[in-house]
């Protein structure tokens, strides 16, 4: 996957402003956006997915222009065909696992899936080991089951790229290692490029070939290959108070 990004966005909340100006190019199947909270990682990913509209700039993926403010191009999310795994998974609480996974096919008013869509859902449920809990609601699932459901939901529509926002942040150590391995196996199996957000250096070593480091809404480094993260191997120090506020601003 070749990705070429140059986007700008201002977010205002109360009397604070967060200015994001991100520019990077990469040719990889495993890219990580790395940085402390408040760096603008989630906002960048949301703009890639088409969920947030950049103020200006350009996003080109594999030769296709998804966004170009100069030419007035803003491809809607459905035509970008991205699979998005949200930080807290954002599973629909009123739908069962099977309904959540079928979500990408149920775009209109309730209508039955086509035979091939139903087969696809069944295959994905099976390969994600969700068949036994297909009729459970998200509130009844464990953390690992939720994550598998979220990734399955993102993958079922055969997206061009998988976007993951801190997929392991909510998990404890043992589970984190297992799910990381699962995710990599899935990624290799489906041969799907992925862009992953993380603030955990361990994720970089395991999951990323290209690391784009962000801080304060700017790209501070682009590292290619599995060399150590630019900001030492320790997790980030607690973020400064104003970047916390900026992070909150982006979440609202």
């Amino acid at each position: 996957m070749h990705i070429d990004v140059h986007i700008e966005k201002q977010v205002r909340a109360a009397r604070r402003r967060f200015d994001l100006s991100v520019q990077f190019s990469a040719d990889t199947t495993r890219l990580a956006l790395y940085g402390p909270s408040g760096a603008g990682k989630t906002l960048t990913l949301q703009m890639l997915a088409g969920l947030v509209r950049p103020a200006k700039g350009r996003i080109v993926v594999d030769g296709k222009t998804w966004f170009d403010s100069n030419r007035g191009i803003d491809v809607p999310p459905r035509d970008r065909r991205v699979g998005y795994v949200f930080q807290d998974y954002a599973l629909f609480p009123h739908w069962t696992v099977a309904q959540n996974v079928s979500g990408a096919f149920a775009r209109g008013w309730p209508r039955p899936l086509s035979a091939s869509q139903a087969r696809r859902v069944e295959r994905v449920l099976l390969s994600f080991d969700l068949s036994d809990i297909r009729d459970s609601y998200p509130s009844q699932l464990s953390g690992g089951q939720r994550q598998r459901t979220a990734v399955a939901r993102a993958l079922v529509g055969r997206p061009r790229v998988l976007l993951l926002d801190e997929p392991f942040a909510a998990l404890d150590g043992m589970l984190k290692n297992r799910l990381r391995a699962e995710l990599l196996a899935i990624q290799a199996h489906y041969e799907i490029p992925m862009i992953l957000i993380t603030h955990d250096p361990d994720d970089l070593a395991a999951c990323a070939d290209v690391v784009v480091s962000l801080d304060g809404g700017r790209v501070i480094d682009v590292a290619i290959g599995n060399r150590p993260a630019p900001q030492s191997s320790a997790p980030f120090a607690p973020p400064a108070a104003n970047s916390l506020v900026a992070h909150d601003a982006m979440q609202t």
């Binding site: 999310p77 949200f86 775009r107 998200p138 939720r146």
Partner: protein, 226 residues
Amino acid sequence: MSSVLIPLLLTLKVAVCATLIAGVLGIGAGYWLARTRMPGRDTADALLILPLVLPPTVLGYYLLVAFGRSSAFGAWLEGTLGIHLVFTWEGAALAAAIVAFPLVFKASRAAFEAVDPTLEQAGRSLGYNGWTVFSRVTLPLAWRGVIAGAMLAFARAMGEFGATLMVAGNIPGRTQTVSIAIYEAVNAGDDTLAGALVVIVSLVCVSLLIAANLFARRGHMRIAPV
């Protein structure tokens, strides 16, 4: 018997229409204010709540001025569309809808605000357009709160007195709703009729209130984000 049944059926007709009008407008306005970040949304909120605070007679007077034959708008409604609102049951429904509107609006806004916007983003990332996100994600997660508001609105519309009387008057069989019929029965010393109507209205309103509370309480458990 017909002195009970006729005002009761008219009241139900007026209250159902009023609830539908207030429901559509209240859901729309509630969703809009729950999601917009436009400056001045607090002012908009206050203006939309106004019918709850204003005395019904004041509201009725405004409606008369706005929709009466002497206003340009009222003349246009009558002349061009053939809609008569003064001294008709449609006018009573409109008055009741406006009085009941804030109840749907308030409840819907709170219910929509309780729906995690990330879930709407998740819908959009799956390729849903705005209407699909609303109808398949947001509304199903908020509907208990919305229904609870609509039930209160229905009860309020059933009991509407002041604004309805101002706009639609008190024409037995045409615009005389139950609350107005009760007032007239008491004035005329007909305690049997007044008593029967009072008991019926009380029963309907109490059951609606209980139902609305049950809905809202269960809804709270369901709409909690996962």
